[in-house]
């Protein structure tokens, strides 16, 4: 147990371990304090634990390398007292973990060797991770924005540029836990926020577990992702804004029974809302498991503000509310994108979403959206309402979660990978074929959720 006396060293501390009872953990606790100098070109090594104190930036021109197995902890606090790691435009993070040795971001309260010292789904204990890049957005102000929560006078908080191939580094086999504190009033931070991150960046095998706000959020940019996990977050599983255009495959999202926002919140522009380029990501092989029928406030997807987006080969299940594709009297809405062919749903499976009819899925509250119903129920699109027969669904740490389709499941066929070399060819629907890629590296596994 790690109680009390945390050693406060600056990032270049000497070896002055005064014998704190840190069991199993070797090395030091190194406190990395927010500073205008940024982290510098530095490697954080697995033998130490790094404590984030404040908004710690990887400045432009700097590269932060994190060894596999390294644990980084954020100090508690809200607003100006919160802690987060922010990779500024032109900075790089090389967090290249492995399935055996994932890189863990968690709260200072968490002794990662004791999986039970924090309630599993406790959120909002520290900030989160923000990566900012130079790719394009559809913001009216020259495509540049200041990421939420960072004081606008700190220019390191800005994102957006003209280089869609921008490379912010590698973020692979990373688990982000218990994060999402309010870093400004009314402004919770996401587990992983990506602002204008370019397609040269690698984002794979990233888990956000119990975040108070969204699991993942994109603001513009072109980054592609694979193998993302959004587990038990307080708001949306996956959220995009400001014209993101990435390709994505193998996403898994799950909510607890009594919390959560919308499986996918997909927004277009802000000012103006018809800003170009439109958001146009392609998502294939996602599995979204909602809170179940009892939580009537949880919706599957909201697509609005001229956002586009295409879902292929995905499973949406256990959502009380269906899909909203915004229709505004002004006509500047996502229904217009749908009618322009920029929103698509193909080869997807819906189960226990609304009342298990396409009409119900296209109804939110008392309002039915015929354009949504027509798209989903178009026979040529091969969307099905059928039980995918996943091997096990559990929202508590009882070893009952196995989102792999059971033998004979309808989800094991009927898929067809979208075109493009990015996408791995599959014929199954959902994030899993026959292997559970959550095994080994996720907190879901460590904490005992998985079968």
């Amino acid at each position: 147990m790690l109680t009390g006396s945390v050693l406060s060293f600056s990032s270049c501390s000497d070896d002055d371990d005064n014998g704190t009872d840190i069991d199993e953990q070797t090395g030091e606790e190194i406190v990395v304090t927010a500073s205008t100098a940024g982290t510098g070109n530095v490697t954080w090594t697995a033998d130490n634990t790094y404590i984030l104190d404040g908004f710690v930036f990887v400045n432009e021109g700097q590269t932060l390398t994190i060894e596999p197995g390294t644990v980084i902890k954020g100090r508690p606090g809200t607003g100006e007292n919160s802690s987060a790691l922010i990779v500024a435009r032109g900075g790089k993070i090389m967090a290249n973990g492995t399935a055996d040795k994932p890189i863990i971001f968690t709260t200072e309260e968490d002794d990662v060797n004791d999986p039970n010292d924090i309630p599993a789904t406790q959120n909002g204990l520290w900030g989160g991770v923000i990566i900012l890049g130079n790719a394009t957005t559809n913001r009216g102000s020259g495509g540049v924005g200041a990421i939420e929560g960072i004081p606008t006078e700190d220019t390191r908080g800005q994102y957006g540029g003209t280089n869609d191939a921008d490379n912010s580094g590698v973020f692979k086999y990373v688990s982000i836990r218990h994060a999402g504190t309010a870093i400004a009033s009314d402004n919770e931070i996401n587990g992983l926020t990506m602002g204008a991150v370019g397609s040269g960046t690698t984002i794979e095998y990233v888990e956000v577990f119990a975040n108070q706000d969204d699991g993942f959020e994109w603001f513009g940019g072109t980054v592609n992702t694979k193998y993302l996990v959004s587990a038990f977050c307080g708001d949306d599983m996956f959220d995009y804004d400001e014209g993101w255009r990435g390709n994505n495959q193998f996403w898994f999202g799950i909510y607890v029974e009594n919390d959560g926002g919308t499986g996918g919140e997909h927004d277009g522009g802000t000012d103006p809302e018809d800003g170009q380029p439109y958001a146009m990501p392609v998502i294939s092989n996602a599995t979204y498991i909602g809170s179940g029928a009892s939580r009537t406030t949880t919706g599957t997807l909201v697509i609005r503000d001229n956002a586009g987006g295409k879902y292929y080969n995905s499973i949406f299940m256990d959502f009380a509310q269906g899909i909203t594709i915004e229709d505004l009297a002004s006509g500047e809405d996502s229904r217009t994108r749908l009618e322009a062919g920029q929103i698509d749903f193909q080869n997807n499976i819906f189960w226990n979403v609304s009342d298990n009819t396409f009409n119900g899925i296209g109804t939110v509250g008392t309002t039915t959206e015929p354009w949504t119903v027509a798209l989903l129920s178009d026979a040529a699109k091969n969307n099905r309402i059928i039980n995918p027969n996943l091997s096990g669904i559990s929202r508590t740490a009882n070893g009952g979660l196995n989102p792999v389709p059971a033998t004979g499941s309808s989800a094991l066929s009927g898929g067809a990978a979208p075109s493009g070399s990015f996408f791995q060819s599959t014929d199954y629907v959902g994030a899993f074929g026959t292997t559970n890629w959550l095994k080994g590296w996720t907190y879901l596994d460590q904490r005992g959720y998985l079968d």
């Binding site: 309630p119 540049v144 006078e153 018809d274 002004s330």
Partner: protein, 951 residues
């Protein structure tokens, strides 16, 4: 405070009883009929006796211990025609007041005014002040305030030409708000109470404590240089020439609040009725530590969280009650008497008001222009709005004046104003921005309980001296100390949403979409020390006329501290809201709900609903400001008709603001400015002036603006970010006015003005920010120009039978433009390519109009006044992007007041206010359609009152 006040009353009643048991007294004042100035050192004798006296530094004289009878007074003064006033009747135990105006030897004899009752603060007096002033000035007298029935200085000021009042509190002069308006109490600067504003909230001053309100619209070097729109001076009651006692009480009925059993309220403290919180809303005493962040294993931290959570009350939602009648009571007492053989005058005043207001007819909407091609605005929030406000205002005033001799006078003014406002609000409606649907089955609800307590405590010591050995120069000095405080103890918010699906209603609090239940504690203290010393020396110039030089020095020292504590409720998923606020905070849900020893706890502390400290260091700051000034000016009658007042003022400013966050750069401004001023007055005729003026003035950022921290208001309002690098604004002011005083209390005037601002400080939209954010910046230029018209005239000119009718009307027309910053304009033009590069200044109305019609009959003891006030649409919020700005919409305010003397000492008053009951409306306009941001009606007010007056 209270004990002191009551003992004071006791003391004064003693002196009263001494004062009344005497033989008769004659008192009066000698003034020049040309300039209205008091004549100092003039001689007044009683014919046929050897009783004679010289007038004092106020031009006043007094004959005491006269036997009852009829006397004749003779007054004389160098270069003035002597004058005799016969038939002055002196009665036992009474004071007869005789004011005499002397004309210069070259002009014809002027009338003598013998008044049975001393009318101070009359309109005639005020007009005289205005006429003889070296600068452009308007005002309102206590007499007019009484006639229009205004209860406080804020509503009284709306009657003055070119004045509008924002939110019933803040004065705008010629469309210029806050930053460009200076408020003073008896000539001394007083701090404002709102941390974001410069000027004081005028509703703090009950009207029965006022003598007059004047607004100087041009600058002379003897005034502080930091205004452009106007310098508002609140003059409190001065002591009367004789014993005066006034007691009055009234009860009021509001058509929406009074006796309404749905009145929205909340828990109250035992002293709420006096405008104080008795610590009912204080942070509980047990919480003498910072609540630690969550720990699930550390016993000490867990127990501190638990203890803090349980120590607070859990009343987080409004309750309902029946609102009683509104009522108000005033008392004032004044006299002059002798103390140690010298003349001693005093006035004490007490004022108390308790008002209840309520509406459930409000609406609140947030709208957005989403694209350049949109035909309409889209809705983001649409709520119904309900609010109940209970407001108590208490005012205490004591003014003492001691005349050491005819040439030396010292006065002390003490004032305390207290205001407590308990407001409870409930908003409910659709919230498509957050929920993705515009559907009546998805509802957001928000509650706010807000108690705000404001007080202003002021002590002023003043001296006036005439130096006979030095050409009768006048020296006056002032030392004024003011403490102003604003507390917002336990400001509470509780928001939730619910979804209806079939027969099922699902409630929740989504902290990712809006703030969790929270409690705020805010405290603002500001002290002002204002020191002034002036020397005015008259001398005769080449043309035989009297000129004056005036020199002075001044220091203004301000000190402010602002503190904020924030506590937020957090809760684990299992304890989410079920639709019942009380159950959410039920004792079994609070703090630690399972100990580690509990077999189901998982070996750690489990929390239900618990408190966390969300206070921010940057939201706590201290500020200091000093302004040292010196000036020289000359008042030169170049010819009989042309008067020039010219000079310059030097002001050295030092502002320093530091927040508790050491990483933030302190705000700092150091500057020395020279402010020239020339005002000329040309007397076209004896009763007609033409004025021209130029002056340079400045505007400084306030503490909040120069403190570089980010603060938030509520219900989705943008963040406000200060700027440590602000510069002060320089303003060139040009003024012209034609004015005519046809008869006593009559006035007709036309003014024109133009102002050019360098580096004006404006609120600008930050176009980079993801969430709405407003920055404070110097923009390069702004301009204001306008015209004002005013008429106050008896209707006898129409037909003599209308002699008793007096009509008053004023109209001001203003146009302003501020440059919009380049980045903001670029963003606006992506949505509205036609958008102009300037906009009107915040809060500036294109017109402000007032009209009153009064009927006065002295024999009947009847005064009836109908009044009307209206301002033109003005910007009340700058919108982000191309969404049209929000305007506060014009609304007509009409009232009627009738008072009637019913016996020698009693009079009755009946009033009806807000007769038209218009909506208080703020809205956007886009393509001819109106989109309501907020709208509500406050109801009609009726009151009856009784006044007992000894004069």
């Amino acid at each position: 405070m209270f004990n002191k006040f009551f003992s004071l009353i006791g003391l004064l009643s003693l002196t009263v009883s001494v004062a009344v048991a005497q033989s008769g007294i004659i008192r009066g004042q000698l003034t020049s009929s040309e300039t209205g100035e008091e004549l100092i050192g003039a001689t007044v004798v009683i014919k046929g006796t050897n009783s004679g006296t010289a007038t004092d530094l106020d031009g006043k004289f007094s004959f005491n211990n006269l036997q009852p009878g009829t006397y004749e007074l003779q007054a004389s003064y160098v270069s003035y025609e002597p004058k005799a006033v016969a038939g002055v009747v002196v009665k036992d135990g009474e004071v007869t007041v005789v004011d005499i105006r002397l004309g210069s030897s070259t002009t014809a004899l002027k009338e003598v005014v013998v008044e049975a009752r001393a009318i101070r603060s009359s309109e005639g007096t005020l007009r005289n002040i205005q006429r003889k002033s070296a600068l452009v000035m308007d005002g309102i007298s206590a007499e007019q305030i009484t006639r229009s029935g205004d209860s406080d200085a804020a509503s009284a000021l709306t009657r003055v030409t070119g004045i509008s009042v924002e939110g019933s509190k803040y004065v705008y002069v010629r469309g210029l708000g806050d930053r460009y308006v200076k408020t003073a109490l008896n000539g001394a600067e007083i701090p404002g109470l709102d941390p974001n504003r410069n000027t004081v909230q005028m509703d703090l001053f009950p009207s029965n404590l006022l003598d007059n309100l004047t607004v100087s619209k041009t600058f002379t070097p003897d005034l502080p240089g930091s205004f452009s729109g106007g310098y508002v001076n609140i003059t409190t009651k001065d002591f009367p020439d004789r014993y005066t006692l006034q007691l009055s009480s009234s009860v009021g009925y509001n058509s929406q609040a009074t006796f309404n059993s749905n009145f929205l309220s909340s828990n109250k403290g035992g002293l709420d009725w006096l405008g104080f919180d008795d610590d009912t809303r204080a942070v509980p005493d047990e919480i003498d530590y910072t609540i630690p962040s969550e720990s699930f294993t550390n016993q000490e931290r867990a127990e501190q969280i638990d203890k803090a959570t349980k120590a607070f009350n859990t009343e987080m939602a409004p309750s309902r009650m029946t609102a009683p009648v509104n009522h108000s009571h005033t008392f004032s007492l004044g006299n002059q008497t002798e103390l140690f053989g010298k003349q001693f005058g005093y006035v004490v005043g007490l004022s108390y008001q308790r008002n209840f207001s309520y509406y459930d007819n409000g609406s609140f909407g947030v709208w957005k222009l989403k694209s350049a091609s949109a035909e309409e605005l889209d809705n983001n929030k649409l709520f119904s709005d309900e609010r109940g406000v209970e407001e108590v205002t208490l005012g205490l005033l004591a003014n003492f004046s001691y005349k050491l001799n005819n040439n030396n006078k010292i006065s002390l003014n003490l004032m305390r104003n207290q205001n407590g406002q308990n407001s409870s609000r409930f908003l409910s409606g659709t919230y498509p921005e957050n929920f993705g649907v515009y559907d009546e089955s998805a509802i957001f609800e928000s509650r706010a309980l807000h108690y705000i307590q404001r007080s202003l405590t002021s002590g002023q010591l003043k001296g006036e001296h005439v130096l006979p050995g030095f050409k009768n120069s006048k020296v006056d000095w002032l030392a004024s100390f003011t403490l102003s405080q604003q507390d917002e103890p336990d400001l509470r918010f509780f928001a939730n949403d619910y979804f209806i699906t079939g027969a099922d209603t699902a409630y929740s609090i989504r902290v990712s979409n809006y703030s969790p239940p929270s409690r705020f504690f805010r405290n603002l203290d500001e002290t002002n020390l204002d020191l002034k010393l002036n020397l005015e020396t008259p001398f005769t110039i080449w043309n035989g006329l009297e000129a004056k030089t005036k020199f002075g020095v001044a220091a203004l020292l301000k000190d402010r501290s602002f503190r904020e504590n924030i506590y937020r409720y957090r809760f684990s998923n299992a304890y989410n809201y079920n639709g019942n606020v009380e159950e959410f905070f039920a004792p079994e849900n609070l703090g630690i709900v399972m100990q580690p020893s509990d077999p189901e706890s998982g070996g750690i502390y489990n929390y239900g609903v618990y408190l966390q400290d969300g206070s921010q260091r940057t939201n706590n700051y201290d500020g200091e400001e000093s302004v040292y000034a010196g000036y020289a000016m000359i008042d030169l009658p170049v010819t009989e008709k042309l008067r020039v007042v010219a000079g310059a003022r030097l002001e050295a400013t030092d502002i320093y603001v530091e927040s508790f966050n050491p990483l933030l750069e302190p705000g700092n401004l150091n500057q020395v400015d020279i402010l020239p001023s020339v005002n000329t007055t040309y007397s076209l005729t004896e009763k007609m002036n033409f004025r021209l003026g130029y002056s340079r003035t400045l505007a400084r950022p306030n503490f909040r603006e120069i403190a570089p921290y980010t603060s938030f208001d509520f219900v989705g309002e943008p963040a406000l970010v200060g700027n440590a690098n602000l510069k002060r604004t320089l303003i060139d002011n040009f003024d012209a006015r034609w004015e005519w005083y046809p008869a006593v209390a009559e006035y007709i005037g036309v003014s024109a003005y133009y102002k050019n601002f360098q580096n004006p400080i404006e609120r600008t939209i930050n176009t980079l920010a993801q969430n709405p954010q407003i920055d404070i910046n110097n923009v390069d230029n702004a301009k204001v120009y306008g015209l004002e018209f005013e008429i106050n005239k008896r209707l006898s000119f129409v037909t003599p039978s209308l002699e008793n009718f007096l009509v008053g009307a004023n109209l001001s027309l203003t146009k302003s433009q501020v440059n919009i910053s380049e980045s903001e304009l670029a963003l606006i033009r992506t949505l509205n390519p036609e958008a102009e590069s300037t906009r009107p200044m915040f809060g500036q109305s294109p017109f402000v109009a007032n009209a009153t019609l009064s009927y006065q009959s002295e024999p009947l003891g009847l005064v009836a006044t109908a009044s009307f006030n209206m301002f033109g649409d003005r910007i009340s919020a700058i919108s982000i992007g191309g969404t049209p700005n929000i305007y506060e919409r014009s609304r007509p305010i009409a009232g009627l007041v009738v008072s009637k003397r019913i016996s020698e000492h009693f009079s009755a008053k009946v009033s009806a206010n807000n007769i038209l009951n218009p909506a208080y409306k703020h809205s956007h306009e886009y393509k001819g359609e109106e989109y309501i941001y907020s709208s509500y009606k406050v109801g009609r007010d009726f009151s009856v009152g009784l006044t007992y007056l000894i004069n």
